[in-house]
Structures are given as C-alpha cells and as structure tokens.
Amino acid sequence: MRRWHQLSEVAIEALIRLCGFSATIFVLGIFVFVCREAWPLWHNDAFHLSEFLFSIQWYPTSAVSKHYGVLAMIAGTFSVTLLAMTMAVPLGLGAAIYLGEFCPSRPREILKVLVEMLAAIPSVVWGFAGLTITSRLIVRYTSADVGVNLLNGALLLALMSLPIIVSLAEDALRAVPDEYREAALALGATRWQLTWRVLLPAARHGLVAAVLLGFGRAIGETMAVLMATGHAIHLPTSVFDPVRTLTANIAAELGEAPARTTHYQVLFLTGVLLFLVTFAVNLTAGLIIRRERRP
C-alpha cells in the first residue's frame, strides 16, 4: 500500500515536471517546426536570402520571373507599428498614471474592468470595426481616397495594444514603494511633480518593459491589419497609403500557396523572421522586468 503511494507520487511529480517544461518545449517546437517547413529554401537556387530581405519585388505566382522580396512588408509592419506606438505610448502611460495615482479607489475598479473589456475584444472584431467604422471616419475627415490604409491600421493597433501597456505600466507604478511618494509629498511636491520627478524615473524599467510588450503585440497582430490596412505592396510614403504587413501577407497568401512549393516555404520563412523579431522584443522586456525584481 505504502509502496503504491510512493509510486503514484513519483509518477505525478514526473508529470508536473514535464508540464513545467512544456512551455519551453513549445517555444522551441514552434521555432523548429516553422524552420523545418522553410528549410528546403536553403538548397533552392531560385531563392536568395538577400533578395528576400532587401527587395521590394514580391511576385510569388508570376509565370515568367518569380520574386520573393519582403522589404515592402517589413516597411509596412514597422510603419504601422511605430505610428500605433506614437499614439499608444503617451495615452497608455497617461491612463496608467491616472489610474494609479490620481483616481479615487472606487471608480478605479470600474475603470480597470473597462480596460480589461477593451483587452478582451477579439482582433477580428477590431478588424471589422476598422473596415466599417474607422475607415469611414478617415475618408470623411481627411483627404484620403481609401479608408483602409496605414493610419487606419495604426489606430486599431494602438487601441489593441493600449490595454497591455496600461495594465503593465500601472503594475510598474504600483511597485514604486510608498515611501517615495510620502517623501516627495512631505517636501511639498504637487502630485504632478511627484509623478514627473519621482514616479516616472523610479518605475522607468517597468514602464519600458510595458511599452516593449505592447510593441511586440502590435508587430504580431494579424487579423486587424489583414482586414483594415489595404493590400498594396510598396514602400509607404504617407500615412494615407495602403500597406501590407508581414503578418497580413502570410494570412492572405497561405491559403493559396500549395504545400511544399517555394511560395509556401517563403511564407514560413517570413514566419521565422516574425518569430525572431518578437522573440527579441519579448526577451528584452523579460530581462528588464527580471532585473527590476532583483535590485
């Protein structure tokens, strides 16, 4: 009987350990499997890595000369994401400061629930709102001819990454010890001075991590940009240009690319590129958060 107990205990602990390692296994697995599908490109003479990264010519289905350059999509991804971040970062930090430092505690709970609701909205619903609501507004109030463009995508991405930035930035502000606040207030600082001179510098690592995680989410966002940024493959010259991002490119073409063709493999290689970029962003954010925890 006792032996049976010991055996089952050993078994369950092994299972727990296995599950504990599962996240690592999955991250590695994702990398390995996506690379595996893209691997044959290495031996393919019609494909050049330099063309992939530095050419804006994307003609994967052309009959005469196929080109696989994703530079236009890279530019699309970064222009949409950066424009989104210029809107989301000040708003997100401001909202977090209001929630953390200025808001009375009872409304705060309600406002935080609303921010959570914002975070829960599926990306396909954002994309739909982009198609039907914001694109109409853009056409009505600006000189743009089409509403599905860079600005539209950036607006949606800003709204989508705001909840992450707000909640993580608020956590970072709350992690600043109350002694700092008391000391500043005792010296006669206003709450504006307290925020600007004491809290923001003290919480800067956490705030940077919050912004980075929001940035990572915006780069990887697929459905909203697929539906709401238009699909022109070129280098954008103004915020009213339609663009295509790396994620939207995969989502739009994977269904039409037959398995094991070069086109299909190039789409997987784009996936590898996206994985590496978001991995670097998230890893940086993670390292910053960890350094914060161990002063």
Binding site: E9, A23, V34
Partner: protein
C-alpha cells in the same frame, strides 16, 4: 485644503495639480470612449438582424441570409477541446513553477519561455499548427489540429493566473501540512490547490474568452468558410472534420462575401462580442467573490 492655500505660489501649484489630473483623465477617456462608440455602432447596425432565429439557424443563400448556428457550435467545440488540453497542462506547469522550481538557470529559462510563448504572433502559431499538427502529425485539417494550436496559444494565460493564485496561498499553510507528515504532492492536493481554486478558475475562464475570439490560428488548421450541419443535432461535428467558427465566420462575411447585408456581419460581431464579454464577466464576478471572501 484650499483654505490654507493662500499664497499665489501654492495656488499655482494646486492649479497645476488639477490640470495634471484632468490631462491624465482625458488620456484614459481617449481609450475608453472608442470602446463605447464601437459597441454602440455595432449594436445599431446589427439591430435588424438580431433575433433568436439568427442564433439557431444556418446561413443560407451563400451566407447572405440566415444565422450563425454552425459557427457557434464550431466555436464551442474548439474552445472545449482546447480547454481540455490547455487547462490541466497549464495548471500543472504553474504548480511546477511555484511549488517545485528553485531559482536555477533552467527555471529562469522556463519563465522567459512562458513570457515569450504569450508573445509569439498568432499567425506564427498558425504556421506551427499547420507544420506540426496538420502535416507532421497527420491530423489533417481538422477540429483536432485547430484545438491543439489554440491550446498551445492560450496556455500562457492559464499559467500566469494560476501562478498568481498559487503564490497567494500563504506559505505557513504548506508548512503546517508538511509538519503533519504529508508529502509534497499530498500538500499540494489537499491544501494548496483547494485554496487557489478560485484564481485558477479565473485563469481558465479567461483562456476560454481568448480562445473563442482567435481567428488566425484556426484559419489554416481546421476552420472553414462554410459547412452545413444537420439542424437540431447536439454533436454535429466529429474531431477529424473541419468546422465553422464564429470569428472565422465574421472574417468571411466581412471580406470574402460581396453583397451581404451589413446587418448580418454586424450581428455576427455582436454575438461574438457578447460571448466573449459574458465569459469575461463571469471571470470578474468570480474574482470579486474571491476577494470579498479574502477580506472577511
């Protein structure tokens, strides 16, 4: 306070302070007003199509009329199945991280992996699901492949909230149990998990809401534009079939279906949003109850 704020300097400072509060409040409102505007617009546009019949009938006339029943059932399938995989694994992973893991390099790597798994773009999850489940494991384009992809994608949600819940169980509870001669697993089963069950449930509910809304990971692994199911049957799909899903249905209606009346995609969006919000509301109520119990 203002009675004592006589000097001009102090008045300036107080004005600054209220200006700052107003500025930050305006920033918060910039974020919340679009939420209400969007929901109001969706409801307004969806009103002509929204009724009970819309929920329980199949799309007809090339999806230009009819309802969302097959998509709703498909979403329930995908969510249930992904939950069945992700919940046990996620909870046990959280148990490992809080109860077993010491501060070694590989456990720090696991923490980084959880953070990174949550940040992998959804379309990369889709590529992984296609490469690993559809082709390598030969599950084909099926509910099974799509659910497994969703499970891996949403597992970090469960790990994060379960870990919070487990960490909030006081250490003295565990020590008391160990002192009675209980082993590590007995302590976890009898003391730690029952005390953390509310927080764990909250995480699982949030996973449900996330999985219900995802589109990209299921688009290439098991969801289809249209699939007829027999009305009235409770379990119309089998695991090796493809299925419709609400999120995918909304995408199809709004981008691939010309000439559809705008009330239909709007109503689909409302159904999807209502599902997600209901599930989230359940999580919030549960969390409030737990906090109230904690205070008593």
């Amino acid at each position: 306070m203002s009675r004592f704020a006589a000097t001009p300097q102090t008045r300036t400072k107080l004005r600054q302070e209220s200006a700052a509060a107003g500025l930050f409040l305006a920033m918060l409102l910039c974020l919340l007003l679009p939420l209400f505007a969007m929901i109001a617009d969706l409801l307004w546009q969806a009103a002509p199509a929204l009724n009970w019949q819309f929920l329980i009938s199949s799309p007809t006339h090339g999806m230009r009329q009819g309802g969302v029943w097959p998509a709703l059932v498909g979403t329930l399938y995908l969510v249930t199945l992904s939950l069945a995989v992700a919940a046990p694994m996620g909870v046990l992973a959280a148990v490992y991280l809080t109860e077993y893991a010491r501060d070694t390099w590989y456990n720090r790597a696991i923490n980084m992996a959880v953070l990174n798994l949550a940040g992998v773009p959804s379309i990369v999850h889709a590529l992984f699901g296609l490469g690993a489940f559809v082709y390598a494991a030969q599950f084909g384009f099926s509910i099974l492949s799509a659910s497994l992809t969703l499970a891996i994608m949403t597992m970090p949600v469960i790990i994060a909230s379960s870990r919070q819940a487990l960490l909030s169980v006081p250490h003295s509870f565990r020590e008391a149990c160990w002192n009675l001669g209980a082993s590590r697993w007995q302590t976890i089963r009898a003391i730690v998990l029952p005390n953390a069950v509310g927080g764990i449930l909250t995480g699982i509910i949030l996973q449900v809401s996330r999985a219900a809304g995802e589109t990209a990971p299921i688009m290439f692994t098991g969801a289809v534009f249209y699939k007829a199911i027999a009305p009235g049957t409770l379990l119309p799909y089998s695991l090796d079939e493809q299925c419709m899903a609400l999120s995918m249905h909304l995408y199809t209606l709004s981008t691939q279906t010309p000439g559809v009346d705008p009330s239909i995609p709007n109503a689909t969006a409302v159904v999807l949003l209502a599902l997600v919000f209901l599930v989230n509301a359940a999580a919030i109520v549960l969390r409030t109850l737990i906090r109230a119990r904690g205070r008593r």
